[in-house]
Amino acid sequence: MKFDSTTYTFTDKGNAGKIGLIVGMIGLAVSLVGLFVDAGQFYFSWLVAFAFWISIGLGGLFMTMVHHLTSAVWSVAVRRIGEAVMNALPWMTLLAIPLLFGLDKLFIWTDTDHVAADAILSMKVGYLNVPFFIVRTVIYFAVWALLAFLLKRNSLAQDKEWTEERARKFVVISGPGMIAFALTATFFCFDWIMSLQPLWYSTIYGLWFFAGGITTVMAFYAIVVLRLRSNNVLSETITVEHQHDIGKLLFAFLVFWGYMHLSQYLLIWYANLPEETAFYKDRWGAGWTTMSWILMIGGFVMPFILLMGRSAKRSDASLMTFAVWMFVVHWVDLYWNIMPVFHTETVVLSWMDLTTLVGMGGIFVWLFWMKFTNHPAVPITDPKLDASIKMVN
């Protein structure tokens, strides 16, 4: 990979995108074989992987809008990373298409006989029915695509010339955009994850999904920044100070995510109502107990203690380790939330869990890298760029 640091453009994009595309195609092709081996497993594995990469894409959209709404200075230098993630999101949503063929395998509420026999489920038919479900999903995806498109278009226009109106336009898009984001992300999670167990409900569930996505996108930022630096790209622009700030936000959102989990668990444990505790009962026993402990200790306690210090975030090796670990944790989190609906007895890891995750990951990396390298790697005309480069903690 070659980089021209006067214009901030890539003269040679390297192999990252190509490798991503190849891995992605192979991964997804192999996964499709699984459809004929065990369709149920295929759809559930696909859903976990899909939710995983979509949540990261949503994180990129969120970070881009927050950057504009807060008039942040420090993040100008890393703004294009979030934008590229955001621009990958609309394409990633296309990976929902295979899932539409397996709605009957995923969601018990699609079974009309089952619903008719259940008084409570019958009450929910107005919301939990296939046509409305698909319409809603299309609306969520359209909203994300629209926001990503508007922000991207303005960002590229700004590269030609910085004007006050364009700077303002970012804020005008992001303000209402944030409201649309909050509602669509929440209901996406309600529809695609919470309704897997249609009798169970939790008002905090949308926030849990959001928190996990933001934590992981910060881990993604960290990985990108460190990989670029090791290739000597942007190493004078995105400094260890930015790395430190990314680490801090990773830590902050990690704690926020833990707080979501705790709030939900504590209140459900305390009230001990059967319709709520069923969720935790399904995730406790046999292999699920181990997974629950991994999530608690590995997902929160360990990184909370180890990532708190300053050097843990400023050291490349240490931040990279945590960033990769947060990816693992996020996958465990989604697996733990989704898969007990399918593997009710114990954890049964399947090769499809791996191929779908890696396959979509390859596509994601390819899209990201294409979006990131097509334009200057920083918003070159942004007046705050200089201040961002010189930023110190």
């Binding site: 453009t9 420090w74 489920l121 409900y201 905090i204 709030s263 109502l273 070159i380 007046p383």
Partner: protein, 472 residues
């Protein structure tokens, strides 16, 4: 896209300057004079005496009513079956919530490098401490038998009686206690350099008092080094408290099996509401302070107020999000009791309270979408009052969920007594008494910190003070 080749390079990048936080172009000495002057002046303004007179009377009435409460018992309040928790818990949650903005401003915004916070953090934190004092009184007097109020604390005793550690009310004692301690320490740490400034300017006996309060501060290099480290650490310690305290307060309701109370979004929802209401109060107090002390306008600028308005709008919408989630999930749950509670809130006998809450907390902050409105002092002032009203009503609505419980034969309306109103008014009296004393005797803007964010504090700065006059 190949458009990138023709785009401008970094050479054409315009110069961006950080926004000016202090207006009027004062020098460091002017800052000291303007802020210390408020404390040092001998002729206490008439309005201060009048305001203090009113506040002290209200606070006095508060304590007299308390004496009556101890003499007769909690029956003087409207609390009854089925509404066993009435205004005292509403007032408690209201005041604890108010406090949160102070901690958010002093700790969270410090960690986020939001330098505009320096002008408001001192009085916001003072507000926190006074609000927590007001809040702490209510559970204390609510126990009914004041002589056993110490039972709230896990104190070893010969009866081997312990509070229930699984009770959310026990967690409250720890949460609020920790909160008060940490806030006080944080506030005082920030005050030390300013006490020393006052000491160095004073003569006679005030010098002795300020000298005592300044803890031997000499502005030495190593002292500053320790101070900065301590301040950062205290900010780090105080940050989780912003989330934890009101989360614990929310569990007072949410751990119960009362529909409308037991819902998992309660902890973050309460935290957002607390920050919302606290910012409302900081806004009210900040605008009043600007009014009575004109030099303060250079520090608490319209820009500061505008940024606060944005935080109010954001947290107001977070609260709106929580209301919507509660409503949606109540329907989605398919649970008839849950659905009844929310329909009853919105359309039952207390619908007026519910819609006051929604109007004040969700609709009024929408005014701040417009720059003209969020930079208009009268609009901000009126809106901030509405925020406070709305958040009091939010807790009222939540507590009044009890008025129609599982047993329709026990349904009843809640009738507040004169004492209910008297206690609420009295707590405001106590709050304002403390706040007026603070305004008069403590530097209300953190002088040392404000100087730290002025352009002159930048080592690369070259006599900005004079240069900007030409620019302007």
């Amino acid at each position: 896209m190949s458009a990138t080749t023709s785009t401008s390079t970094s050479a054409t990048v315009q110069k961006w300057k950080p926004p000016k936080l202090v207006l009027g172009n004062p020098s460091f000495h002017d800052v000291t004079d303007q802020i210390s002057g408020i404390v040092e002046r001998r002729d206490t303004p008439i309005w201060w005496w009048v305001a203090l007179g009113i506040s002290v009377s209200m606070a006095g009435a508060f304590f007299i009513q308390m004496a009556w409460l101890f003499w007769t018992g909690v029956g003087i309040w409207g609390n009854n079956v089925p509404v066993g928790w009435g205004w005292p818990i509403v007032n408690f949650v209201f005041w604890v919530g108010i406090g949160h903005a102070g901690t958010l401003i002093s700790a969270v915004l410090f960690l986020l490098r939001q330098k505009w916070r320096t002008s408001i953090n001192r009085f916001a934190e003072a507000m926190t401490i006074f609000a927590v004092i007001c809040a702490g009184i209510f559970p204390g007097i609510h126990v009914g038998r004041i002589w056993v109020a110490y039972w709230m604390f896990p104190i070893p005793n010969q009866m081997a009686m312990w509070p229930n550690f699984r009770s959310a009310l026990m967690w409250d004692v720890f949460a609020v206690g920790t909160y008060f301690t940490a806030s006080l320490l944080f506030w005082y740490t920030g005050l030390v350099p300013d006490w020393a400034t006052l000491r160095d300017r004073a003569k006679g006996w005030p010098k002795k008092i300020y000298g005592f309060l300044a803890l031997g501060w000499r502005s030495g290099n190593s002292q500053w080094k320790h101070y900065e480290a301590a301040y950062l650490l205290l900010a780090g310690i105080a940050t989780p408290l912003v989330l934890s305290v009101h989360s614990v307060v929310s569990t007072d309701f949410a751990t119960s099996m009362v529909f409308g109370w037991h819902t998992t979004i309660f902890p973050p929802y309460f935290v957002a509401g607390a920050i919302f209401s606290g910012f409302g109060m900081v806004m009210t107090l900040g605008i009043l302070a600007r009014l009575v002390y004109p030099p303060v306008k250079n520090y608490i600028t319209v820009k500061t107020l505008e940024l606060m308005a944005k935080v109010i709008m954001l947290t107001g919408m977070m609260v709106g999000y929580a209301y919507s989630m509660e409503m949606f999930i109540a329907w989605y749950s398919g649970n008839g009791y849950e659905q009844f509670v929310f329909l009853n809130r919105a359309f039952g006998p207390y619908a007026w309270a519910y819609w006051i809450m929604v109007s004040c907390n969700v609709i009024i902050p929408q005014l701040f979408w417009f720059k003209k409105l969020r930079t208009s002092i009268p609009v901000l002032f009126v809106a901030s009052i509405f925020v406070n009203i709305g958040m009091w009503f939010e807790r009222f609505v939540i507590v009044l969920t009890l008025h129609r419980d599982f047993l329709p034969s026990s349904w009843d309306m809640f009738k507040p007594t004169a004492f209910d109103i008297g206690f609420l008014v009295g707590s405001f009296g106590l709050f304002f008494t403390l706040f007026l004393l603070f305004l008069r005797f403590v530097p209300m803007v953190a002088m040392a910190e404000v100087k730290g964010v002025m352009p002159e504090a930048d080592p690369h700065h070259e006599s900005y003070h004079h240069a900007t006059e030409k620019e302007a």
